[in-house]
């Protein structure tokens, strides 16, 4: 494809937004949301619903999300469909201009909300072409920019995209994690009731390590009967043990598991040595794998969508899952002490492990859904159930 050529292509009339890829491609469109620019890795997500959850998922930190579904923003935004209070994705790319919201739960417009969050939106892009490009040549680094006047310094934006170091080796968990521990309140959402608030008596205590967690994980743990204390990513083993956990949860999060694992893996190993029950999701799962002696690797093509089939090996049942990962536990590297429990039916990559002889397991996908199918809520019950 003509990259140098297209970077020279003149700005189309009325263009107020642009995505400049580090390879020199310049994708013109219409900006919305925050004015300004942001640098990140361009990924895609194939979910047809749940854009607000995606945009508040800390796992997308440092990323620009391309939504493959053309109409985004239809149902506006509300105060409930948030997955964190931190900055996840830095921007998003959509095909269609966002129109006024229509949904009884909507409290505002998607564009205004993005602007308030400081995230840049870009519409008018052939998102399918961009997705195919990502599929074929990997996720590029890029700058997304929005200026209502349409004034862009393309060479400067290109330089910024090229100079950005990228996600590999980056410990983004530190950036998006809480800085102080927090007692989590609230269980899952139900129609007409909102989030639940079950009583706190006699619940097993789960200490949840926040590497950039989605809130719905905590809600599911509470729903399953746990009392949850969320602690920052870099919390030490001693601090965790002082909290007297019945079990420790390892959250999802952005970035390279090897980088975050540098400090988290020893903590996890300490927990395993002391037979503390452990449950990990996504990044947490990968670090559990590292702690158990397996390796992780960056995937050529990450999994990002809400339609991914995973086979549960114990009984052959298929779970339709929400996924968002660019790294995976290498199933060829699993030591004898680790059992593979789930695999992806799309490409056979590892989707779940259990440590033999321990109450410790992890899944690569997102059983907390939000967005996505709720086939795997049972895992929370399984975890809380083993904290007798």
């Amino acid at each position: 494809m003509a990259d140098a050529a297209s970077s020279l292509a003149p700005k189309p009339e009325g263009a107020t937004g642009v995505l400049v890829l580090s390879d020199g491609s310049v994708l013109w469109g219409r900006g919305f949301g925050a004015v300004g620019d942001a640098v990140g890795e361009v990924c895609f997500n194939t979910s047809m619903t749940g854009y607000q959850e995606v945009m508040t998922d800390p796992s997308y930190a440092g990323q620009i999300v391309t939504f493959t579904f053309p109409h985004i923003g239809n149902v506006g935004v509300n105060d409930e469909d948030l997955e964190s209070q931190v900055d996840g994705a830095v921007g998003c790319v959509v095909r269609e201009d966002v129109t006024l919201a229509s949904n009884f739960r909507s409290h505002g417009e998607f564009g205004d909300w993005l602007a308030a969050k400081g995230k840049v939106g870009l519409s008018g892009i052939d998102t399918r072409a961009l997705t195919r490009r990502i599929r074929l040549s990997g996720a590029p680094n890029a700058v997304i920019a929005h200026d209502p006047e349409g004034a862009f310094d393309i060479p400067a934006l290109l330089r910024k995209a090229q100079e950005w170091p990228g996600l590999e080796g980056m410990d983004l968990a530190k950036v998006v994690s809480r800085t102080a521990s927090e007692e989590w309140e609230g269980s899952i959402w139900t129609l007409g009731e909102g989030y639940g608030h079950p009583s706190e008596e006699g619940r097993p205590h789960v200490v949840a390590m926040d590497f950039g967690a989605k809130d719905n994980i905590f809600r599911n743990l509470v729903q399953a009967g746990a009392h949850v204390t969320v602690v920052p990513a870099e919390t030490s083993l001693e601090t965790i043990l002082e909290l007297k956990p019945d079990g420790v949860f390892l959250s999802n999060g952005p970035g390279d598991p090897a980088a975050t694992g540098a400090y988290a893996v020893p903590v996890i190993q300490g927990l395993l040595e002391r037979d503390v029950p452990v449950f990990g999701i996504c990044l947490g799962h990968q670090m559990l794998g590292l702690a158990a002696g397996a390796k992780t690797a960056k995937m050529f093509q990450g999994h990002r969508g809400a339609n991914h089939p995973v086979k549960r090996l114990e009984d052959g049942v298929v779970e339709i899952t929400s996924m968002n990962h660019g790294f995976a536990v290498d199933n060829a590297s699993l030591p004898d002490s680790v059992e593979e429990t789930h695999v992806s039916l799309f490409d056979g990559s590892n989707c779940g492990i259990a440590i033999k002889g321990k109450r410790a397991f992890g899944v690569q996908y997102h059983p907390e859904a939000s967005p996505g199918p709720q086939d795997s809520f049972y895992l929370f019950e399984k975890f809380v159930g083993m904290l007798a």
Partner: protein, 1108 residues
């Protein structure tokens, strides 16, 4: 988990004739299922009475029974074939009901037949309103407040709880027949009555009204391992109150947050689990209160359905194929997703486009039917369109409907109308309500106002508002002259034609002069074009060419480009040049290719028969080594299945859309030609535009087609060949029409030119009636003249189907109509071979057909209609294209007629194929099926206007038996005892005497109205009893029909008065489900059939057996 090895043969039950609520989607699903089961090595036995299906092709199943789908006949098939299992979930409600009856009467048990796909208990639990509600209560899902009733009294008791308005749904009916919405007690009573009648279990469900709520549908597939996936979510644009089959729908759901969507998803899976659908596909329907999201389960179908066909085409996921594999024991993870070729079927398709379905209606065919949409389905077909946004998707669907729309056309009745008129129009759920909403915006209504009246979600209305605003801008400024501006308009889905119409208006020439001038040439026209940008469709296209603005083609890959797709299933869209130029995924091949244009949405007069021909063309040309490329926009069809052709474009069949496909396909390889003669009138209308664009048309030339359609040119050919036509003439005004009719002499047959399905055709007896016809039925003008023919009363009509390669003519079949001339050929029953014509007459018709084929230069198929009167053969019309009768002929004679025709069109010779063997030792009868029960108040009488939606074939060793089977297949059960009511017109009286004698001999009681009774008594039939006409006081004949005293009715009429007087007789027959024959010929045939069949059992025999 491997497939089941405890079964080796499977009976698949089809859906029978095409009727409202059950169309060709069941041929699509059945065909997929049969292919999937055969792939697994099972012996497949099929029963389906519909000959126009691909599934009944003799090389599909191992044993194919074209027999009536009624329990006693299917039981005979089971007895003979001894299948190990029956798959009842592929043939709609017909198959489900039939299988359930066979389960309940012990037949399945007796012969050790297992139900696969869904068991009897699951079917009953899903279909029985009370059990379903209990099941929903159990899993904590809310149902509407409701109750069931078996009597009127019970119904009123339920009404106390639910209140008005109230929704009434009869149990065990498809498409909601007999149901409706009642706003007052009188309406309530009448709907409950018809609902109780329509329900085979005399049961109706009465529900609280959810009018105005949003409606959704989820397509679910589940395997025996409890793996369950959602294939597609569908959102109805029309709110609750309009049957989902009659609703405009979009996929995926567009106005739900993920949290709400997941509630619906989890609920759908819970419903399947609770009902116990373990191995197959189902759909679950929900209503959602737009104010608070309250979710109510409406119903579920434990089988594949019309919406599964839609979901399959919308996502690329082959639901029926997968469901069939699950039924024999596979699990979802063991089945490949053939679209990607790389991933398993156990995933949920995700799409990156918007799909719109718009139903197509036929109210204009049924005088007296009010075009109002209710909970009983009335549409006869549908169009689906795919776009990258809702605007493009909707506008493509509107032009794909082929109802004369190019997009959101103006609604003249509402132009400049008062607010009250517009409000009234919006408040009625008519087929045109979406267009009314758009017009209301032009008239100053706001989105909020329209939403308050229609309950259309504002999200949809706002997109329509943007389209209307854009239209206003074009009407103001003309067309953009730069590529970016043009691309922006095209990406909103505007057709070239619509743009031209709008652009012309930008030139403010007074009094419509702009429009007039736009059609002409000259200086003024040039000025106009310069100002508007373009003034005609061709000029808009030329402008686009100049700006290099063309659509690109994207793949339907079930995964939003996350994986590489292997299946070439495509749609067009206008994309931004994101990477230098718009990305096109068409990747045309280097092969020799042939494009087959399909028939578009089903309608009366153009249905599954044409899709059958298109599919055969695909198969035949593939076999001959060509790359086949299918273009169609009807989601119900086999032609739009992903493995029917080598490449599939799901696109509207308009000149613009087809030319853009050809442009891409011609960029590589060799386009051998386009086939336009197989898809009915739809592609035929495009022939000229394609030829003008230099596209090779295969087979008969467009000029020859025009020659056959153009009355004056055709008359010259007839004269040259020295054939005889009924006297005829053309009239371009009322006065001309009167003059022509006087010259020919009444009665005359009148119709507008260029018709299909006999639209607006009528037999006219007098000048007064002619005046009435011209005033109400047609517009007579220079552009659209009316054709007037001598009407040959009581003549016998015949159809001849033939093939011609330019050197040789092969007659495929001569069909004798059973109804006399004057009934539309599509509505007539007919037989192969003819049952009463002398050999010399048949030979004469064959010779004339041969002469015509050569004279016209036919290459491929041709259909000729003749009338025989007093030993004289009259030529009625010639259609040098595939006709509606092709599949029937092919099934009757056991020859692949359409396939050979396709190969002849591609250049092969008839001498390359073995000649047809046409001396049959059996008879095949085709009978038409009518939707009168859907249109209360419409007189169920046959006329030159086609009204049937489908057909069945009865095949047996002789004519009476075959006729009897055809009637049974068409739900006209011939009684073996009881009372027969006879009232026939004078000219029919002599004909009917022997028939009545036969019935008396068979023990029937005969009652007749005075004239008929007198005549029959004079003829010696003194036992015939007298019954009062309606006007003669009570109890009269209608009372007796309503009381169920009458088992069979022979009723023929002549003249308007007598027709009007007897309408209540026919109407009560339809409501009372009494078999009725409205022509003397069919009455005689029915009597003969009863005489032959009575006391003996119907024999069943497979097509393979007949042909061997």
């Amino acid at each position: 988990m491997p497939k089941r090895t405890d079964i080796s043969s499977i009976l698949v039950i089809g859906a029978g004739p095409i009727i409202i609520g059950q169309a060709c989607e069941f041929d699509y699903s059945g065909t997929q299922a049969i292919k999937a089961l055969k792939e697994e090595g099972y012996r497949v036995i099929l029963v389906n009475s519909n000959p126009a299906t691909i599934m009944t092709d003799p090389d599909m199943a191992d044993a194919t029974y074209v027999e009536p789908i009624v329990p006693e006949v299917v039981a005979r098939i089971i007895e003979k074939e001894r299948p190990d299992a029956v798959l009842p979930t592929m043939g709609g409600q017909t198959a489900l009901n039939c299988a359930l009856a066979l389960f309940e009467d012990g037949t399945l048990d007796k012969y050790g037949v297992t139900m696969i796909g869904a068991n009897a208990d699951a079917i009953d639990k899903a279909e029985n309103r009370t059990r379903f509600r209990e099941a929903m209560d159990k899993i904590g899902l809310e149902s509407a407040r409701s109750g069931t009733a078996h009597t009127l009294d019970e119904a009123f008791a339920v009404l106390e709880r639910t209140g008005l308005p109230s929704i009434i749904r009869p149990s065990f009916t498809m498409g909601g027949t007999g149901g409706g919405v009642a706003y007052n007690k009188a309406e309530f009573e009448s709907i409950v009555r018809s609902g109780l009648d329509a329900s085979p279990t005399t049961e109706v469900l009465i529900e609280e009204s959810l009018l105005g709520w949003k409606e959704y549908e989820m397509e679910v597939v589940r395997d025996k391992h409890d793996n369950a996936i959602i294939i597609c979510s569908i959102e109805n644009v029309d709110p609750m109150g309009v049957h989902t089959g009659d609703s405009i729908t979009v996929a995926p759901a567009l106005t739900l947050t993920d949290k709400e969507y997941q509630i619906m998803r989890s609920a759908s899976l819970a419903v399947l689990r609770e009902i116990g659908v373990e191995t197959g596909g189902s759909n679950v329907q929900f209503a959602v209160n737009p104010k608070d999201g309250r979710l109510i389960v409406i119903e579920m179908n434990p089988r594949v359905s019309r919406s599964s066909a839609l979901a399959s085409k919308a996502t690329g996921f082959p639901i029926a194929r997968v469901a069939a594999k699950l039924a024999v024991g596979y699990t979802l993870d063991e089945i490949m997703n053939e679209i990607t070729g790389a991933t398993p079927a156990s995933f949920e398709p995700t799409i990156d486009y918007v799909v719109t379905k718009i139903p197509r209606f036929a109210f204009e065919k049924f005088k007296g039917a009010e075009p109002l949409l209710t909970t009983a389905m009335k549409s006869v077909g549908e169009v689906m369109a795919i776009g990258r946004n809702i605007k493009e998707s909707m506008q493509k669907a509107l032009r794909g409907l082929e109802t004369g729309l190019d997009g959101f056309n103006r609604v003249p009745e509402l132009e400049g109308a008062g607010r009250d008129t517009i409000t009234a129009a919006l408040s009625k759920a008519t087929p045109d309500r979406l267009l009314h909403a758009a017009q209301a915006m032009r008239e100053g209504f706001t989105v909020d106002e329209i939403h308050a009246i229609t309950h259309y979600d504002k999200w949809f209305l706002r997109h329509i508002e943007e389209i209307i605003a854009e239209e206003a801008k074009i009407m103001q400024d003309g067309l953009p002259i730069d590529a970016q501006g043009m691309r922006r308009l095209k990406a909103m889905g505007f057709s070239d034609k619509r743009l031209a119409t709008l652009a012309v208006r930008s030139v403010h020439v007074a009094g419509g002069l702009g429009e007039t001038q736009a059609k002409r040439a000259g200086l003024l026209h040039d000025t106009l074009r310069a100002m508007a940008g373009a003034t005609s469709e061709d000029e808009v296209r030329a402008l686009r060419e100049k700006l290099d603005v063309h659509p690109v083609f994207k793949r339907i890959d079930s995964c939003a480009a996350e994986f590489e797709a292997v299946t070439p299933y495509m749609y067009s869209t206008y994309e931004a040049p994101t990477f230098g130029e718009p990305e096109n995924e068409a990747m045309p091949s280097e092969r020799k290719k042939i494009v087959i244009l399909g028939g578009g949405p089903n309608r009366i007069g153009q249905g599954i028969e044409f899709d059958y021909c298109c599919v055969h063309a695909c198969f035949a040309l593939s076999e001959a080594g060509y790359e086949t490329i299918m273009v169609n926009c009807n989601p119900e069809t086999v032609s739009t299945d992903y493995d029917t052709s080598d490449r599939l474009y799901f696109e509207p069949l308009t000149g613009e859309d087809v030319l853009e496909i050809l442009r891409v396909e011609q960029s590589k390889g060799e386009l051998v030609g386009v086939i336009v003669q197989f898809g009915g009138q739809t592609p035929l209308k495009l022939a000229q535009a394609l030829e003008d664009a230099g596209i090779p048309i295969l087979g008969t030339s467009p000029d020859a087609i025009d020659l056959a359609e153009d009355r004056e040119r055709f008359a010259a050919l007839v004269e040259k060949l020295q054939l005889k036509q009924p006297a005829n003439g053309i009239a371009r005004s009322r006065d001309e029409a009167v003059a022509v009719a006087n010259r020919i002499g009444y009665p005359v047959l009148t119709r507008p030119s260029y018709v299909l399905g006999g639209r607006a055709m009528e037999i006219v007896d007098s000048e007064q009636q002619l005046d009435d016809y011209i005033a109400t039925a047609v517009q007579v003008s220079g552009d659209s003249p009316v054709l007037i023919d001598q009407y040959l009363r009581d003549a016998i009509e015949c159809d001849v189907d033939a093939l011609c390669d330019g050197e040789q003519v092969q007659i495929a079949g001569v069909m004798q109509h059973i109804e006399e001339a004057g009934v539309h050929s599509g509505d007539s029953a007919c037989t192969i071979p003819p049952y009463s014509l002398p050999a010399d007459i048949i030979t004469e018709m064959e010779n004339q057909a041969k002469a015509l084929a050569m004279g016209l230069g036919v290459r491929g198929l041709m259909n000729v209609q003749f009338a025989v009167k007093d030993g004289e053969v009259y030529l009625i019309e010639v259609n040098p294209r595939a006709s509606r009768t092709v599949p029937f002929v092919a099934k009757a004679i056991g020859q692949p007629v359409a396939k050979i025709a396709a190969r002849v069109m591609a250049g092969e010779k008839l001498s390359d194929f073995p000649p047809f063997k046409r001396d049959l030792d059996y008879t095949a009868v085709k009978e038409a099926v009518f939707p009168f029960a859907r249109f209360p108040g419409v007189d169920p009488v046959l006329s030159p206007e086609m009204k049937s939606t489908g057909e069945v074939m009865g095949i047996d060793r002789d004519y009476p038996r075959a006729f009897g089977k055809a009637q049974l297949g068409a739900s006209m059960r011939l009684p073996t005892e009881g009372t027969v009511f006879v009232s026939v017109k004078d000219s029919d009286k002599p004909l009917i005497v022997p028939a009545i004698r036969t019935l008396i001999d068979n023990g029937f009681r005969i009652i007749a109205t005075s004239g008929t009774q007198e005549y029959l008594a004079d003829a010696g039939l003194t036992s015939v009893e007298l019954v009062n006409k309606v006007a003669e006081g009570r109890p009269h004949i209608v009372d007796k029909i309503a009381d169920g005293e009458v088992a069979l009715i022979f009723n023929t009429t002549e003249g308007w008065q007598s027709l009007k007087d007897s309408q209540s007789i026919r109407a009560s027959a339809i409501t009372g489900k009494v078999s009725i024959f409205t022509t003397a010929a069919t009455s005689v045939a029915a009597a003969e059939a009863i005489d032959t069949i009575r006391g003996s059992q119907l024999e069943v025999r497979s097509l393979q057996d007949y042909y061997s």
